[in-house]
């Protein structure tokens, strides 16, 4: 049962049918070979899925952040190999917040900002602006029409987009553990197609936070699908004359996977609600300040839990499956490889642990429970 508080179930049913039709294990393996699922992208684009939460007057499909995230959760169930989060929830958010528009057909991506990135803006944020440097682990860069980035300038953070077709752009393929493109992008004096100051509060930390929220929701979907797949297998697979689901040792694994899926789905949803509320308060597409109940705690806690779940749940799911789960022909790896990858994207355990530190210190002993209980 896919449902998401406040989101039209018809939207989610429709998205689920689309992904289910295009993301079986064979199709995912083909997409891994090809770099992405172009056909799926085109059908999703027809339905406007990638641009949900981007205002219509900015070229988007309208709808709110909850709708967009709910669709990501459905996409996560199927491992949909397209830049869904990148196009709308991330690039669309950056562009629209900066008063820019998306092109309602082209896949976009966003430079997540890793250690070792050297992107810089030369010539100031005017007509002479040129981008140079290297960005690592850019999702789906080879498939994207434009690469959106947040770059520093004397006038504050600027949102820029460069066409991947530009001669100054070189995309060096790399992948994550799931075979999803995480390319290295080299820019050599590229003129941005668009450039505008980022919305108030939008800075690299805010981008990582939004990216983490997108990944957490996608991971929630993957964990739910993993729990269902494992449960189905354990009831179908028989050894010693009975379903393996009746063995205590296997039951323990089934319980753990279901628990982790429940924890992450709950955490993702609560974090999404907190972020959407903060967005509203900030007046639309803006960022949110880093104090108070603006979603900072919720997103940090949710990504930390999701990262831990990626470890705990995959270990249990694989153990419940036995050898079959290690094969390419059985779909479990499409979920586990993605979870292993996504836990390192937009903040690993340590990143979010460090971010939670000041919030906990600020709360102190007397404020600790209110921090946990949201007040």
């Amino acid at each position: 049962m896919i449902d998401y508080p406040g989101v039209d179930p018809v939207l989610l049913e429709t998205a689920d049918r689309l992904f289910a039709a295009c993301c079986d294990n064979r199709q995912l393996l083909a997409a891994e070979e090809a770099g992405w699922a172009k056909d799926l992208w085109e059908r999703a684009a027809e339905m406007g899925l990638p641009w949900i939460s981007v205002p219509e007057d900015r070229g988007g499909s309208g709808g709110g952040l909850p709708e967009a995230l709910a669709v990501l959760r459905v996409a996560g169930r199927h491992g949909a190999p397209i830049p869904l989060a990148e196009t709308g929830v991330l690039a669309g958010w950056l562009l629209a917040g900066a008063g820019l528009s998306v092109d309602p057909a082209s896949p976009l991506t966003v430079v997540p900002g890793r250690d070792g990135d050297t992107l810089r803006l030369d010539g100031g944020p005017g007509p002479d602006a040129r981008l140079t440097g290297t960005a690592h682990r850019v999702p789906w860069a080879r498939a994207a029409a434009r690469i959106v980035a947040l770059v520093g300038s004397d006038d504050g953070w600027q949102v820029v987009a460069v066409p991947t077709a530009d001669v100054g752009v070189r995309v060096e393929p790399d992948v994550n553990l799931a075979g999803e493109p995480r390319d290295t992008v080299h820019l050599d004096g590229v003129e941005p197609a668009v450039l505008a100051p980022a919305a108030a509060g939008v800075d690299p930390d805010a981008l990582v936070r939004r990216g983490a929220l997108a990944r957490v929701m996608t991971m929630a979907g993957a964990l739910e699908a993993m729990s269902e797949l494992t449960l189905a297998y354990a009831h179908q697979r028989r050894q010693f004359g009975r379903p393996v689901a009746t063995f205590q040792a296997v039951q323990q694994h089934l319980v753990v996977v279901a628990q982790e899926a429940a924890v992450v789905t709950m955490a993702a949803t609560v974090a999404a609600t907190a972020t959407a509320r903060a967005d509203e308060r900030a007046g639309g597409g803006g960022g949110s300040s880093s104090s108070g109940r603006d979603g900072a705690f919720e997103v940090a806690a949710a990504k930390l839990l999701a990262n831990q779940a990626a470890h705990t749940a995959t270990r249990a799911a694989h153990q419940a499956h036995g050898a079959i789960g290690m094969t390419q022909e059985y779909p479990l790896h499409q979920l586990s490889r993605r979870l292993w990858s996504w836990r390192k994207e937009y903040g690993d355990d340590r990143y979010w642990t460090v971010r939670l530190g000041p919030l906990i210190d600020a709360a102190g002993a007397d404020g600790l429970y209110p921090l946990i209980a949201g007040g």
């Binding site: 993301c23 995912l28 269902e228 797949l229 609560v270 940090a300 930390l304 499409q334 530190g357 002993a365």
Partner: protein, 385 residues
Amino acid sequence: MSRPAAGPAFRPTKLTDVELALRDQVREFLAAELPHGTFRPGLGMNSPADPAFSRKLGERGWLGMALPARYGGGDRSAVERFIVTEELLRWGAPVAYHWVADRQSGPVINRFGTEVQKRRFLPGICAGRLGFSIGMSEPDAGSDLAAIKARAVRVDGGWRLSGTKIWTTGAHHNDWIITLCRTGDSAERHAGLSQLLVDLHADGVAVHPIPFLDGSTHFNEVVLTDVFVADDDVLGEIGQGWAQTTSELAYERGGPDRWLSTYLLVEQFLREFTGTPTGERARDLLASAVSRWWALRQLSLSVARSIDTGGAPSVESALVKEMATRFEQDVIAAVERLVDLEPSPRSASLFERLLAEAVLTGPSFTIRGGTLEILRSVTAKGLRP
């Protein structure tokens, strides 16, 4: 790649303004009644028994909250009861005196009892004046409750009950014990069990303490020797004891008592070690534990809300309980590794005393109310593809 199935459902929920106001009231009451440093806080439901404190809660309408007002209850919701319980436990308040009566005996009497029984017992429970024990486990019937041997035989006007019950919390200061016993001779192990209300002061009832490994004496053995139980004190139907017992706790499993037992340990660590440069290990613990409490609380609250809206979240509450009690133990281990001290139960430091108590009693967290192993089987059976 997989079609969605009807898995466990936890719908996120938030507290309403009315509920938030209740929380504020409880917090104000606790801050005034039990200021930090003026009382000995306990670890969750292991906290001390304090009948006077329980009566004060009763006066405020915070016991038997979900019971009908006509029997002294509050006609309030599971979420409201959740809020009060959560605040009491995280404060380390002395809840032991009313704990079982409020959490378990009141609801079961309300559900299965006669009108007379409800009028007789519920007002006292709601006032914090009547303490109850649970008579389920026996020496040879622990996880395997159907192996119960305590037996009641029909006599004129009632039953004559004999047997031995163990792990009966608080029987030395409580008034009644709801006793699961055999009233029939069915070969089917689950049939022929019934629940009887037994006066702990009746003839033939002997209560012996079972000291815990830390020397505390919450637990008792209750030996019943030809105790007369009147027909009026049969709870529910004769022969339905098994069904009544298994249903009574289904939704209560995942409550705040299952994840708050060691909360105070961490709060007190933060209080006593404040200003100490916290290393990576302390940061790891705090970030992980706070995140998990936050998520567990949302899941647990969602179960309470589901009960209020007519749901049947038995799988959900079992899932929460199983992971929550493991987490409570993980917290002890993590805190214990943080500090290079040999905790003494006699220490001047509250943190150190709580740590000593947590280390000593922690193993019971995944045993009480059904071992982890049994809980996992029950939970797994509720998970269907």
